[in-house]
């Protein structure tokens, strides 16, 4: 079975929320829609206090090359535009909307019928994706249209990431089981947008039912291949997935498009289907809410901007002894500062952890076992990089390719001395990138 060749780990999967129907979260009383939900510059608000909006109304427009449109996820009245504490504790501008009813913009097709035909041209599709505010739903939240433009007419293969290599998360799995037919339409739309004849869907082998389901559905389309992959983290990393499926390796500092590939997350594919075929902008997303002690772990459709609190209540409330709440998976997710933080486009899961699960052990001296270098999927030497950052030897860190790090956390996960390798490397990577930018 295929997989990537360098490094990798296999943390316990803990996919406890799977194999259930995807539920719909009831409408909250107020949503808070941050203006910076994607990578790049924050969007410019188009509404003001007191404005009435419907579901799907554009409330903020893209303000630069890498920036995204933002739509209202509920109908109601704009309460204010103010700062909201984001998951990191910093104040960020956001639009507060009081919910009144549930009225959608007229052109949005809310029916469940599958629309297969798509007669738009490549440029029309990409522009529609941009206008719908779609960003990568796997976590990085990079604007999808920018990625498509970078690869259009240049690449030969579209890769769909259905690996879901993060432990605990099951939202992609559920989506593949429930919306298989829509996903295949979405893949074909993306192929048309990119003008490619090949699509590979990589799915880790712990989701056998999803692989089977999509294989059966895709028989009609010989250009789409479903490929099972050996379970290994971080298979969902772009470079790792490309390596696993096509044997091509993206060199440091280059983009997947440079080796003829564009990677899209499976969640993004569904958003693309809805945007192009149903005129529905990105106002909902599927979120896994899970945790070993949570009463009812599950996957839920959530309106963007709903407070995390509401989602946890729906799944049975915060269990006693919960000390850490993570937006995303346990390997790359971010621990949030409080539960008033709104769900954003890039949040794929909410994971609750007790103190014993979440507290780090004291770090000890490096015994140079080399395990971190052995598991690093990008051939880095984390132990050396940590030392360079600690001593602020930026030029050495650069020479040892610190900027290639994808922050998968395999090094910290595996270190027998519990050293916070990634903490240092992440901080150092930011610093080195800044130095490189200043040089130009």
């Amino acid at each position: 079975m295929k997989t990537f060749k360098i490094g990798g780990i296999h943390p316990p999967e803990n996919k406890i929320s799977g194999n259930k129907e995807i539920k719909k979260l009831p409408l909250p009383e107020q949503v808070v829609i941050p203006l910076s939900q994607s990578l790049g510059s924050p969007s410019t608000p188009l509404v003001k206090k007191g404005d009435m909006v419907k579901v799907g109304t554009l409330i903020a427009e893209s303000s630069g090359f890498i920036s995204a449109y933002v739509h209202s996820s509920v109908s109601g009245k704009v309460a204010k535009i103010d700062k909201i504490i984001d998951s990191g504790g910093y104040g960020k501008d956001a639009v507060f909307i009081d919910v009144i009813g549930d009225e959608w913009e007229e052109n949005i097709d809310l029916s469940e019928t599958l629309v297969e035909e798509c007669n738009l041209t490549s440029d029309e599709i990409i522009s529609k994706i941009e206008k719908s505010g779609i960003v990568g739903l796997g976590g990085a939240a990079f604007p999808t249209n920018v990625k498509l433009m970078s690869g259009k007419d240049k690449v030969d293969t579209l890769i769909i990431n259905g690996t879901e290599c993060e432990p605990y998360l099951t939202d992609d799995h559920s989506l593949m089981l429930e919306k298989g037919a829509e996903l295949l339409v979405g893949i074909r739309i993306l192929m048309k947008a990119l003008n490619v004849q090949n699509a590979l869907v990589g799915i880790e082998n712990n989701k056998k039912d999803a692989i089977k389901h999509l294989e059966v559905l895709s028989r009609k389309y010989p250009s789409i291949k479903i490929i099972p992959l050996k379970v290994k983290y971080p298979q969902g990393g772009e470079k790792q997935l490309i390596d696993a499926l096509t044997n091509r390796q993206v060199p440091g500092g280059k983009l997947p498009a440079d080796v003829g590939v564009v990677v899209q997350n499976i969640g993004t594919v569904f958003a693309v289907y809805e945007a192009v075929q149903k005129n529905k902008p990105l106002v909902t997303r599927i979120v896994t809410v899970t945790g070993k002690r949570l009463k009812d772990p599950m996957d839920v459709w959530v309106r963007i901007g709903t407070p995390v609190k509401q989602l946890i209540e729906f799944a049975g409330g915060v269990p006693d002894g919960t000390r850490k709440i993570i937006a995303g998976g346990p390997m790359m997710g971010k621990a949030i500062v409080n539960t008033d933080v709104p769900i954003t486009k890039g949040m794929s899961g909410i994971l609750l952890m007790s103190e014993t699960e979440s507290m780090r052990k004291t770090s000890r001296v490096c015994i140079r076992c080399g395990q971190c270098a052995n598991v690093c999927p990008l051939k880095l030497i984390p132990s050396s990089l940590m030392t360079f950052v600690d001593f602020e030897e930026w030029s050495k860190a650069e020479k040892f390719n610190i900027t290639d790090c994808l922050e998968c956390g395999s090094c910290s996960y595996t270190c027998p001395s519990n050293r916070p390798l990634l903490d240092y490397i992440r901080a150092g990577k930011g610093k080195v990138n800044q130095i490189i930018r200043n040089r130009k």
Partner: protein, 320 residues
């Protein structure tokens, strides 16, 4: 009062691996070799091992507690390993007082003067062993005759090692079965190839070590001595005998792979291993000492920081 939520950078989970797990894994891997040494050297092997382990742990505790005044780290198992490895490199009839001096040098000078586990440059057990070899050459180069659970210690009958014999062209070399099982004269832990290989396989399966270092050391020695044997079979012994005798396997599997004193990257490991192989062969074939593994490892230990600094893997995705 509401409990404060914990915030921390990712990753939020850990494999649960620890220094202790690794160290005790190595100890388990050493068990087969210890059993073999008990069979062939009996009481002597037991006394030497126990004294060595006990004094290593005790010296680590005493020095850390009273001299350095820091938290003691004897529970992490690294001192125990040093003790066992030191004992494995000694003849089983060595007097107790010499073993204690060896342990003091190993722990005191080899390990703690550099700052303890993780900071030492040289393999502590080898530092102790080489110190004893140079200071007490008479006691360190007589080797008890293997028996079957012999109850002798200081009074054992002695003779020369296989390498000594092939180096100086005298005596009868043991047959291959004896070489494999370890029924020959030598340091108490180094004799049995089978037991050491069992330990090696165990450590590979448990992912305690990677295979590069041992395999490349053995390969280098095999090729080097093989070529010399091919050129002049009368002067140089066959490479198989070189592989199976002396401390080569013990050194390659357990001493050269010591985390702290071996390189971190694959490239570094291979250079380090080939270096050890060449130095060992050169000392064995032309040096004054019949055996050279200890010196080879110590010399390459000194090169390790350099290898860590200069041998880095090629950047991801860039192929030559």
């Amino acid at each position: 009062m509401e409990t404060k939520l914990i915030i921390s950078p990712s990753p939020h989970i850990h494999s649960g691996d620890s220094i202790e797990k690794k160290m005790y894994g190595v100890l388990i891997a050493l068990i087969p070799a210890f059993i073999v040494s008990l069979v062939f050297f009996g009481l002597g092997a037991l006394v030497v091992t126990l004294v060595s382990v006990f004094s290593c742990v005790l010296f680590e505790y005493l020095i850390q507690r009273f001299l350095l005044k820091e938290k003691t780290s004897i529970s992490d198992g690294s001192a125990v390993i040093t003790g066992v490895l030191l004992a494995f490199n000694l003849p089983s009839n060595l007097p107790i007082w010499i073993i204690i001096i060896g342990a003091l040098v190993a722990i005191g000078i080899g390990k703690l003067t550099f700052g303890g586990l993780g900071r030492n440059i040289f393999n502590p057990a080898l530092v102790g062993r080489v110190f004893l070899l140079i200071s007490f050459p008479a006691q360190m180069t007589v080797w008890p005759e293997p028996g079957f659970f012999p109850m002798t210690y200081l009074d054992a009958t002695t003779g020369a090692t296989t390498l000594n014999m092939i180096g100086n062209h005298f005596g009868t070399i043991p047959d291959y079965t004896s070489l494999l099982l370890g029924k020959m004269r030598g340091s108490l832990g180094e004799v049995s190839a089978v037991a050491l290989l069992l330990g090696f396989i165990f450590m590979l399966l448990r992912k305690i070590i990677q295979w590069y270092i041992p395999v490349f050391i053995l390969l280098t020695v095999f090729l080097f001595t093989g070529i010399m044997n091919w050129i002049n079979p009368a002067e140089y012994a066959s490479p198989v005998i070189h592989l199976l005798s002396g401390g080569l396997l013990l050194g390659a599997v357990f001493m050269a792979t010591d985390y702290v004193t071996s390189p971190v990257t694959k490239g570094g490991m291979i250079i380090y291993a080939v270096g050890i192989g060449i130095i060992t062969s050169v000392i064995r074939l032309w040096g004054a000492y019949p055996e050279g593994v200890s010196f080879a490892i110590l010399i390459m230990n000194a090169v390790t920081p350099l290898l860590n600094n200069y041998v880095k893997p090629e950047r991801y995705g860039i192929r030559k």
